[in-house]
């Protein structure tokens, strides 16, 4: 995970001064949103919590909603 932390630190050091210089607050805001979300997921994974498995959630939901697909596939 240290590689991802490195990537995030590099991107912040590289881009944030540019956003501030250009006064592009909208761009800086969306950049910060992605950056913080990626950081939060990195920390969550580093702490060794059980992974949420996004596609498993979607899979179970769709299987519950449309039970006929089990027969067809």
């Amino acid at each position: 995970m240290i590689l991802f932390y490195g990537m995030l630190i590099y991107s912040a050091l590289r881009e944030m001064p540019r956003y501030i210089k250009r006064k592009d607050w909208r761009g800086g805001g969306i950049f910060a949103f992605f950056w913080l979300t990626a950081l939060a997921i990195s920390i969550y994974m580093s702490l060794g919590f059980k992974r949420p498995l996004l596609n498993r959630i979607i899979y179970n939901f769709i299987k519950e909603m449309f039970p006929f697909i089990t027969k067809l596939s």
Partner: protein, 365 residues
Amino acid sequence: MKLEKGRIGLKGTVLIMIGYIYGSTAILSPGVGVGQDAWVAQTIGLGLALIVVWVNTLLLARFPGQTFIEINERVFGPYAGKFISLLFLWYIFHLGSIVLIDHLDFVRLMIIPLTPAEVVVFLGILPCIYAAYKGLEVIVRTGQVLVVFTLLYFGLITLFQVQSYDFANFKPFLVTPFPKLAWAGLTAASFPYLETVVFLMILPFLNQQNKVRVAVYLGLFFGGLVVIWSIMRLILVLGDTAVNYVYPSYYAVRIINIAELLNRFEILAAMNYIMIGFLKVTVLLYAAGLGWAQLCKCQDYRPLLLPLGALMALVSLNNFEHVVGNFEFTTQVYSIYALPFSAGLPFLVLVGAWVRGLPGKVKNK
């Protein structure tokens, strides 16, 4: 303000579309679940997709030079338009994470099994971010080389496998019950053909806007032919046993052995899968980055690519518990999940534009 100043040619667009369509099917070989009728399911899927993408071409003809995000805002206004764009961008982003893990699971399981998934995913996303950062023209130029190499590889493998072909594997023909075959066709339409909805973010930069329809149909048709032939090749070589393999196309290449001299071609297959996966993830990452920048009216899309790519990689690590979960998702529920995004959203926007009489009389050409 135009965020992308590059322009792409017809030939390059058709080639990257072929590569994009062949992308994940090279690894996952969809439809092998219906046995020897898999190629029929693929043909049904291609036929359905050729009808559905007509909506995309109509949309691009109504709004030439505008991406799907710009069209949404024009048709539905700032709030509803942004909401539809958010749904579309979520689909592109999530699809990117799925494609990334499809290809890197292959690398991890078949080539470097002891390397942690995080390292493989990190190294996989870096070149994609770099290529997307360089812009659309660079992606298309790179894609042209990679797709030509892929097609050469494809021809070579087809030739070398001739000795293993068993045409009896196609029999019995059409024994799959119709509902199951239709479902397999629908699944084939959504994966991979309708995934080309992402080209609604790329085709507006085609230098000949009057040839958008030609680009879409040529790309889809030839991409479809490559996929159908790759499935037929699997049936010819592996027959019913194809369903037993995690990566049937890889195993089909492994068994090539001509006079104990020409063998071990799987390294070519692995290289090909990595290259074509890189192309597909790059296209998706670029489209997601450009889309978010247009949605939020940023001055530049490129700074977003690094955190967005990191996020895509991290989400890809949280998609499935193992590769079997990936197959279950793709073969069983993916079509239901993807169709509202890949077919529903463009149709909704086209209906909206038609009802509102857009684009109406515009001053610019």
